[in-house]
Structures are given as structure tokens and as C-alpha cells.
Amino acid sequence: MFKRNNNHLNQLESESIYIIREAMSDFENPVMLYSIGKDSSVMLHLAKKAFYPGRIPFPLLHIDTGWKFKEMYLFRDRIVKSSKINLIIHSNKKGKLLGLNPFLHSIDKYTDVMKTEGLKDAINKYQFDSAFGGARRDEEKSRSKERIYSFRDSFNQWNPKKQRPELWWNYNGQINKGENIRVFPLSNWTEIDIWQYIFLENIEIVSLYFADMRPVLNRKGMLLMINDNRINIQPDEIIEKKMVRFRTLGCWPLTSAVESKAVSLMEIIEEILVTKKSERTGRAIDYDHKNSMEFKKKKGYF
């Protein structure tokens, strides 16, 4: 339906704009999850396109764990200000009270409380009936089974065996009170599509994606960038300056840098084309245990 000019990016863009407009019409109280990463930046750009000349008619929601990179916070505040969008920042107070810390607690527990519970908490608090997320099907195995409109029951759970059939470009947004739908406009984009689009559309992204001299230490093969003084440095660890960048962004203690000389979008794209490591390898979160992502999603992780 979205075929244009025989060009796949045009087609993807058209499809995403359609999905965003459709969800805006289907739901009463939508929100867009904003994680400050490159996919979020592309999704935000597409939302601007969908409603031009009007403004984006829903708020952005950032689930803040308190452990994001400093650069990400600065970027977030600047973008929100310049785009005149309403931003809701939500942190899970329970986690803060417990003093949850990705260095001390298991990644499982940390993600569960800070991210999953944080998101559920916010959805319940603001009574959102739908939330846009920037997930892509090519990222991880269980995500490849995800619908564009992904139903979550009143406990915010995803049941992969009971997904609604999704036909044509005809999405079913019927829900009862308390239930919600996660909407994934970037479902069919791949990593290289995202980078190409950022390049062609001149979309601003966080500086951490570009290589620079940064203080890192090597922990179990992960290159950890020291972003503030909360690092629990071990006796045998040395911090050294290396030319690194990030392929994916999350909480700094859980996100590994990669050594790279790519300082421009062009060089990043070249690097991705020849690289032999998949995108999420920098994420400790996916490797926690087998099928981890599936279990997180069943519990309500986005």
C-alpha cells in the first residue's frame, strides 16, 4: 500500500506516519515513550511529520532510571524545549527508596523495578490508553513476533500466544478501561534504515553515538564509560582514555562502548556496514538469561 517511487525508505516513512496518525485517531490518551536514543529521535521526527503543520498532539514520556548518561539528559531537555513538546519525566520512587543500583543489584531486578515498574506506574498514573515505542522487529528474537499494535492487559502484560491477528494495515485498537496498546511505528525498520534516514533527514542525535576520547574501563569484555562518580571501581581495574562510541544507549553502567574512529554519520554508516557485531551486543540487559527479553515483555517491559 505504501509503495512509492520504488524506494524502500519512502515506503517505510509513509507506513510509520500512517501508523502514528491511526493510533492518534484510535485512542483517547496516547503518549510517546522517549528514550533519547537514535530510534526515539527518528520516531519523534516522524511524529512531527505526521501532524505538520500542527504540533504533536500528545506528550512524550521519559522513564528516568537516574542512571542515564549526562549527555542524554542535556540533549533531552534541549530537544524538548526547541520542539515545544510536553515532556513527562517519570521515575519509579520505589526503586529510589530501595536505593537500587545497577552495580549492586542484579540487572534483572534493576530493570524490573526501574524500567518495567516505572513504565507501568506512569501508565496507571496518567491513564494512558496507548504508548508509542521505538522498538524494531530486527533487534531481538522475541521482538520479531511483535505486532504493530501490541495489546497489554490490565496488568500491562504481553501474551505472545494470544496476540490479535493483524490484517493489512487495519489495526484493532479496541480495549477496555485499564488495558492499553503499545504501538510500534518503527517495526519494519532495520538498523541501517534508521542510520540512513538520520543522514538523509538531518536528524539530531546524542553526541555519544560519535567517536571521541572518553574515559573507559574494561570489565568482563565490556567497555564501561565512566559517566559520574557512582562507579564501583575494583582494585585491579584501570580507567584509560580511549577513542570510543556507542551503538546503542541506555543506563551507563549497563551499556558498553565500542572502540571506533567514526566521528561523522558517514563514518558510522560505513562502520555498521562492515561491522561483525549485532547492535544489541552492547546491552547487558539482553544477555541476562535465555529469552530474557520475552520474559521482560510478558511482565510489561516495553
Partner: protein, 466 residues
């Protein structure tokens, strides 16, 4: 300095190639255990889409869950859910991505089990080509016919019959030819512009998928990938007429009133005279707005915002067509339906229905027949059960605008939604509209109404009539 320029040049060339890449959506279907997941894993592997870390993980997984002994079990690449690995089957549609220099591919890997037919329909509804996997040792099975029929029913024009596991029959030509002839015999009954390809493969060995090792010198056709790269992709909507369903009313301020949506078929240009259905009022296109600019014309597939010359009361789900379009709104239609609910469909039941951005209610007036899948014959029935396919007559709560599904996949399709559970319970495809004369405005009435509105706007602006 020179190296920098050449780097830039190289990048430019790469970007150029990227810009020319088309996108093909295809699905793989067939019966249980005929090697679908293995085939897709093989496609990904042989076109070098798999990264080192994924390969390492795959090797570990193969040792733990593999069904192929010491060989890498490619099926584990695509079977991602916990239960799937436990049972070694595919439960739901998994979408996979790979690309070559010519094309990008999105593969909907659909489940083979009968109980997951609705997942297969889900996959097929957005695809242009279908790979039907046949296990050469088992030949054509009920599921093969079922999946071919569903593919054709859902408007897929390219069928690729991939006869798999040729290594198990010593790559003998005769068995392949027998299967081919049997399938052609079955396909005879579909009198449409179907294109069918046959290719003998071994997903396990990797023969005739991306590479040709010539284990079958008697086969002089293309590899599977070559077939996929050369299929002629056109817009699936083969209707030349303009179809623009209004998706969203864009009203940021009192100055601007735009109708956002995706142009399903035809072209639109500034100054064009259009008709708005079902209210049956004509107007002219004054602007076509995209991000940060206005354009003079738009082609089908583009998501745009249209501004009209006149102020008319238009809502989501209304349809813009050519002013002289013969399309008539209707309240009744004959529909082919794939039933997807555990509760049977009976005459008299009511559902929500969603079609081209419009939601309304529908009542089942009659169940005309059910298709017997194995023989493709229509049988009388008073109900349709889970996974069955039939033809029904329905009545809508309000006027609807449909094309036949054969002409247009978007304006010819609908989903049925259960009033209580909110689940999607059926997929409907329009066979024909039953026009209802008494709901139609006459041309005369229509022009009177238009004049009246413009007079009211002129003399009583404070009434704020649109």
C-alpha cells in the same frame, strides 16, 4: 586528501544504490516440519545478515536445543519464543529482514500448524509473494493446498513452490516433476493472473537458495534468491482511480483545516475536482501539504494532508474519489471471510467492523457457504468455525465505500471485532457491493444543498456553518 574524497565518493555511490532499492514483502508457508525456519535461517546466513555474536549464540543454542545433531540448526535463528524452542515449532508470525544489492526483503515466517491459520492470514495480508515449502518426501499435503488457497484469496500474485529436502531423495528430477505437475493441476482452477515458480532446494545443505552447487544439473532455472530479486513489484492496488480515505482531521488553528491520510491509489494534484463520499459533495483540492512544504501532486502510497477549497463537514473514514467516479456507497455487501474466533459465526450476529479508517457495526445477514479446503468446493452451512473460510452477506450500520478486494486490497478489506471481547475475530474481503438506491442523494439535491450552504455562509457567517 585524495583518500578522503574517494571515501566520500564511495559513500555517495553506496547511498545511491540504497536509494534505488525496492522492498519486497513475502511470506513463507507450508506444513509442519518441512523446514521453513531452516530455509529462512539459511537465507539470512547465506546473504551474510548474521553477525558473529549471533552466530556464536546460535552455535551454543544448536548444541542445547538443536534438532540437527552437530550441524548448526538454522531454525533456532528464527524461533525466538521460549515455547517454540521447547517444542521445536513456530507459534506466531516472525518478521525477518535481509537485503541484497537489488532489494530489501521483509519475510513473514508463518506457522505451519492448522491451529495457527489466522497467523498465516496475518502474514499474507501485507505480502506480495508467497514461498510455499513442500517436503519432497511427503509431497503435497492438505496444508499446502490450504496455504496456497489462502495466499491466492488474500491477493498474492506470485507463488514460489520450493520443493525442499531434495538431498533426501538423491536430488532425483522425477519426484520434483511429479510434485510440480500435481500442483499445476490444482492451480488450474484459479483463473487469475497468478505467476507460479518451481524450484528444487535443500535448505539444510543450502542448494539453490542463494548458491548453486549443481547437485541438480537437470534444473536450469534460477535460485530462490534470484527469483525473489527479479519478481516485478508493482503497487498492489491495481486500481487507477483515486482513493483517499480520510484518516485524521488536522486542525491546529482556525486558519488551517487539513485532511490527513495515505493515498491508497491513483494520483492527486492541486486544482483537481474531487468527490467526497458518502456525503456525495464535490470540491477542489487547494493544497497538498507534506512536512515543511506544499507539493503540487502526489502519487499513491504517500502519506499526505489535503486542503479543500470549500468548507465541508468531513469526518474520519470519509473517502475522496475522482468527481466522476462511479463508486457508490452501500449498506450491504457479499464478503469472503476467514473466521478466527473459537466462537462460531452464525447468522444474525453483530460485530464492530473496521475498514479504511472507518469503524462501524455490522450484522451477518446470511452465511452463503463454507469452502471445503481439500476440494475447494462450496458447502452449505449454518455456521463458520475457527480457521474456516466462507462467503457471507452482511449489512452495515451506515453507508460504506468499498471496492472489490480483487481491485483494491485496502478499500476492499475489513476486520471484524467482537463486541464484548474486543478481539479481532475475522478477516473480510469484498466480493461485491449491494448498492442501496434509497440512500443516494440525487445530483439535483446535491447541488441545491451546496448552493444553500454557500448562501448561508455568505449572509449568516455568525452561524458558523461549514
Amino acid at each position: 586528501m585524495n583518500t578522503i574524497i574517494s571515501k566520500k565518493e564511495k559513500f555517495k555511490n553506496w547511498l545511491n544504490i540504497q536509494q534505488k532499492k525496492t522492498l519486497l514483502k513475502l511470506l513463507t508457508c507450508g506444513s509442519v516440519d518441512d523446514g521453513k525456519s531452516t530455509l529462512i535461517g539459511r537465507l539470512l546466513h547465506d546473504t551474510q545478515q548474521i553477525y558473529d555474536d549471533q552466530l556464536t549464540l546460535l552455535k551454543d543454542d544448536s548444541k542445547r536445543h538443536g534438532t540437527q545433531g552437530d550441524v548448526i540448526d538454522f531454525a533456532l535463528l528464527v524461533d525466538g519464543l521460549h515455547d517454540e524452542r521447547e517444542q521445536g515449532i513456530t507459534i506466531d508470525v516472525a518478521y525477518r529482514y535481509f537485503s541484497t544489492n537489488k532489494r530489501k526483503f521483509i519475510v513473514a515466517d508463518t506457522p505451519g500448524h492448522k491451529q495457527y491459520t489466522c497467523n498465516m492470514v496475518t502474514g499474507a495480508s501485507t505480502c506480495e509473494a508467497s514461498i510455499l515449502l513442500v517436503d519432497v518426501t511427503k509431497g503435497l499435503l492438505e496444508q499446502t493446498y490450504r496455504h496456497s488457497f489462502i495466499s491466492i484469496l488474500l491477493g498474492i500474485k506470485y507463488l514460489i513452490v520450493a520443493v525442499n529436502k531434495m538431498d533426501l531423495v538423491n536430488y532425483k528430477e522425477k519426484i520434483f516433476i511429479d510434485i510440480k505437475n500435481k500442483f499445476l493441476d490444482f492451480a488450474k482452477q484459479f483463473n487469475n493472473d497468478l505467476k507460479i515458480f518451481f524450484v528444487p532446494i535443500s535448505a539444510l545443505v543450502g542448494e539453490n537458495i542463494v548458491f548453486k552447487n549443481n547437485f541438480m544439473p537437470w534444473y536450469n532455472g534460477h535460485t530462490l534468491l534470484k527469483i525473489l530479486e527479479t519478481i516485478n513489484i508493482k503497487n498492489t492496488e491495481n486500481l487507477k482511480e483515486m482513493r483517499f480515505p480520510v484518516q485524521y482531521i488536522n486542525r491546529p488553528n482556525s486558519e488551517f483545516r487539513g485532511y490527513s491520510g495515505t493515498l491508497v491509489s491513483g494520483d492527486v494534484y492541486v486544482g483537481q475536482k474531487v468527490k467526497i463520499l458518502p456525503i456525495n459533495i464535490n470540491s477542489f483540492i487547494s493544497r497538498i501539504v507534506v512536512f515543511n512544504e506544499d507539493i503540487q501532486k502526489s502519487e499513491s502510497g504517500q502519506s499526505i494532508t489535503i486542503v479543500l477549497k470549500d468548507e465541508i463537514d468531513i469526518s474520519r473514514g470519509d473517502l475522496f474519489v475522482n468527481f466522476d467516479s462511479p463508486l457508490k456507497p452501500c449498506q450491504e455487501a457479499i464478503v469472503d471471510v476467514v473466521w478466527m474466533s473459537e466462537n462460531n459465526l452464525f447468522k444474525g450476529q453483530a460485530f464492530y467492523v473496521k475498514s479504511s479508517n472507518k469503524k462501524t457495526r455490522v450484522r451477518i445477514k446470511e452465511i452463503l457457504y463454507k469452502i471445503e479446503i481439500n476440494t475447494l468446493t462450496p458447502n452449505n452451512t449454518d455456521s463458520l468455525s475457527l480457521n474456516s473460510i466462507g462467503r457471507i452477506k452482511v449489512e452495515f450500520n451506515e453507508l460504506m465505500m468499498f471496492d472489490s478486494y480483487k481491485k483494491n486490497r485496502i478499500t476492499g478489506s475489513m476486520i471484524f471485532i467482537d463486541l464484548l471481547s474486543n478481539l479481532t475475530v475475522g478477516a473480510g474481503m469484498i466480493v461485491e457491493n449491494i448498492s442501496n438506491k434509497k440512500n443516494m442523494f440525487s445530483e439535483h439535491q446535491q447541488s441545491f444543498e451546496k448552493d444553500l450552504y454557500s448562501l448561508i455562509r455568505q449572509y449568516f457567517p455568525h452561524w458558523k456553518i461549514r
